[in-house]
């Protein structure tokens, strides 16, 4: 009998999630003798890359959760969002999605874990790239993703936002309870196992935050809250 800890459920969700990119790679590799072999190799590379991000995110979450108290340090949200945007660009472009980052005003450092923050945003954003309606049969359209951070009363909020996706925190809570036991725990957001969102949520939780549905400049998204670092900062 399998135990049903949240880690087991997340691992099952990850296994379900990885079926898709691995199937894509298997089918794409059947086409490498075609004329557009170069673009197929690129597709294989980017598809494999996203799977590796997921696996890295899961492994990092597992490793950090075994450490008990996570050593938080001052981290620049703006720098993390910029790095994630750059890393994500080729993958997003392949899916006809534009990715931008936006930081309102001067943000001081937040208390976080640099590697966990970067991995969480990368995993979350790549999961959302995959669910955007980026093309249809005849007319390629462009989806858009915005990685953004802004100041709040208590500290800072940072997240991944996209127009055209409406989603509630209740849906998110309900979906999180179904990770690993449903193939589509977040049907309003994705037709997958939503493992990328789950992995990001676990990393945020390890930093004392949690993913929630929110709005920023009239676009909906998933974001987490962070406390400011108490070191000297420009305000």
């Amino acid at each position: 009998m399998l135990s049903d800890s949240s880690d087991d459920r997340l691992l099952r969700a990850l296994a379900l999630e990885l079926q898709l990119p691995l199937t894509q790679i298997a089918r794409l590799s059947e086409q490498t003798n075609k004329a557009d072999a170069k673009s197929i190799r690129k597709a294989i590379n980017l598809t494999a890359q996203q799977s590796l991000w997921y696996i890295d995110g899961y492994m990092l979450g597992q490793q950090l959760s075994r450490q008990g108290q996570l050593p938080l340090e001052p981290v620049s949200l703006a720098a993390v969002l910029q790095q994630v945007t750059q890393t994500l660009q080729p993958f997003a472009q392949y899916h006809n999605v534009s990715v931008e980052w936006s930081v309102s005003g001067r943000l001081g450092p937040v208390m976080g874990h640099a590697a966990a923050l970067k991995t969480a945003f990368l995993t979350l954003a790549s999961a959302l790239v995959r669910v955007l309606p980026n093309t249809n049969d005849n007319t390629p359209t462009t989806g858009a993703l915005l990685l953004s951070a802004q100041r709040t009363k208590e500290g800072f909020t940072a997240g991944v936002f996209t127009p055209g996706q409406s989603f509630s925190s209740a849906d998110l809570r309900h979906g999180k309870a179904l990770y690993g036991s449903a193939r589509q725990p977040l049907p309003h957001l994705t037709d997958s196992s939503a493992a990328g969102i789950g992995i990001a949520d676990r990393l945020f939780a390890l930093m004392g935050s949690q993913l929630r549905a929110t709005k920023y400049r009239s676009v909906c998204g998933l974001a987490a809250d962070f406390l400011p670092s108490s070191q000297l900062a420009l305000w």
Binding site: L20, L22, A26, R27, E30, Q31, D137, Q184, T190, D191
Partner: protein
Amino acid sequence: MAHIIVVEADRTLGRLYQQAISDDGHTVQLLHDAQAAISAIDEQRPALIVLDIMLGEHNGVEFLYELRSYPEWDGIPVILHTVVPSSHPGLGHYWWSQLGIVSYLYKPNTSLQQLRQAVSRQLATEQSLA
């Protein structure tokens, strides 16, 4: 040559399936969700539907119930092509015949060549019955 509808949520895989089946000379219309597929069938009746179960919003099972609720579409054969294993409790064989599923393909293990063969086999069966 036949008009075939492929309902596949993932765009990368969908394009690969569309291309592979088109290579045999068929017209393949690729749809990514159940509602679009129903509308497409209403515009042009396909000879065959290749259907994924895991679709956004309305899943493949809802699509099948909708499809089979219209008597004029009753005879359209459906090949199930999905990551949901056939051992899944929701995929009992009694259910297949009820909903006109003529064949099941486990997506992770089905090559493009095998998909093309399954489509050709089913179209040949349909022709022999006609």
